[in-house]
Assembly symmetry: C2
């Protein structure tokens, strides 16, 4: 089996790994995301200590430029994260390690790994979402990653917001009460005055949270008609959300999409990642594999 | 040039045509959509009077079953339109005329014709929308039609609705104030008490209409990241809506999607159909062509 490298480039930490796929991660290193210079140097140092890899994949926080034809391919672009705006991630790593480098958003990477090895196996149209400190989404359509103009920004769609029932104005610096602004972890914390993981199971926060998640899923179903929706991330680690979300999606759709997959098999339609919390680093492997064909 | 047949199967009228593509429609017949038996019989009679065609494409009102592997492929499925629920469209036409028959939603057909000959030429990711008696959308992603589970139902996504500013509860029998329920022609007529085409240009209806259209487009941009959005249909025949909609999309996105296509070239990003009101029947041709290769 050929060895690949993966970098899960997150906004708070980097995970670097070497392996062949699920169940075979032969080395791994985690370190905090500090400045680009320091963080990229640590990543290069890790791979120099490992056996040679055929290619490296980088699954990055965004926004990024994933278009190989673009002069800024491989860059983290307009992020508000200090120091990281317009940072070339692919260039220095490729130059230092002299291997092909695949590059995409973290969620596109995770979508690809779930498609290849996880909960999306056997399907051709899936969406992978992460709901945590933000909301991001990636999609496989007809067996291929969706990029389009740049890449999706699913967390920023607009949804109904009843300000009388929920006066929290939303936490997105760009859009206020977009999906992410109402629903991600920081929104929960600011709305309720405590971190989501500290809210008791019978707190009304969870029903409202499931409703906002379901509204977003409804829109994804109406626009992209996925065959399965896979949801990871810190908020969805609260497994009790899944049944609530599924039930609300069915109620919201109200029988309009006449598919047995939704009407009868919703439990296998909206699911956690088959690869658990390894969807990210395995996504980076998958991007490395895709870079060499 | 090989001759193809097309059926634009609408909820109010059928358009049948024979030709080779844009600029070469050699015969055409239009008749009202009555019962399935009578309407399909008229379509068959039209094609029997024409020269032989290599294949026929049907671009149909929906919901439909466009999956060739399904036992109900070629059916109009759960439509509330009287007589038409669970109607086999492809079967009787294929049997009577003994030619290959391509079949899809009317909007997927129009997306394909715009991709092939119209405003989507040279791009690989486009969305075609019609905003008229309803809202429907089709998409080409990576050069292929998007189906997924069934097909998109873009008109039924949920959007912000400020009931104080706009107390109209929406007209969708399934979802009330979904995009279509707030925005399509019947919603305008019920909200303002007169048909949209009779509202003067300085009526506040248009600004609100452009806002709802823009909200939906924002969600399509966030979820699918199209390279261009093409909008036809009766409501969009009000050409003064285009500049209003474009400006509101830019305002709503608020700089988040850092693409010059949106930030600098919005006039060529959100556009009317390149094929004008022939996108529909040419879409049927394109589906016929796709059925044979």
């Amino acid at each position: 089996m050929e060895l690949f490298g993966g970098i899960e480039a997150g906004g708070t930490k980097f995970v670097c790994a070497v392996g062949t796929g699920p169940g075979d991660i032969q080395a791994e290193s985690r370190f905090p995301t500090t400045t680009p210079e320091e963080t990229i140097r640590q990543a290069i140092a890790f791979f120099r200590q490992q056996k040679a890899v055929k290619a490296i994949g980088i699954a990055s926080f965004g926004p990024v430029d994933p278009n190989p034809q673009s002069p800024t391919f491989g860059y983290v672009t307009s992020t508000p994260k200090p120091y990281w705006g317009q940072t070339d991630l692919v260039g220095p790593i490729k130059q230092a390690l002299q291997v092909p480098v695949g590059f995409d958003t973290d969620v596109n990477g995770a979508a690809l790994s779930e498609y290849r090895w996880g909960a999306g196996q056997g399907l051709e149209n899936i969406i992978y979402l992460t709901i945590g400190t933000g909301i991001g989404g990636g999609a496989i359509i007809n067996g291929q990653l969706l990029h389009g103009l740049l890449h999706p920004e699913m967390g920023h769609m607009r949804l109904p917001h009843d300000l009388q029932a929920d006066p929290f104005p939303g936490s997105c610096p760009y859009h206020g009460d977009c999906w992410e602004g109402m629903t991600a972890g920081p929104a929960m914390e600011r709305r309720w005055g405590q971190r989501a993981e500290n809210l008791p199971l019978d707190h009304p926060a969870w029903d409202l949270e499931a409703y906002y998640i379901a509204l977003g899923l409804m829109n994804l179903i109406c626009t992209m008609s996925p065959q399965r929706i896979i949801i990871g991330g810190g908020v969805m680690a609260q497994a009790h959300l899944f049944p609530l979300v599924r039930q609300k999606v069915v109620t919201l759709l109200n029988g309009y999409v006449q598919s047995p997959t939704i009407l009868e098999q919703i439990d296998s339609y909206i699911v956690p990642p088959g690869l658990g919390n390894q969807a990210g680093v395995l996504g980076a492997f998958a991007l490395g594999m895709a870079a060499v064909g």
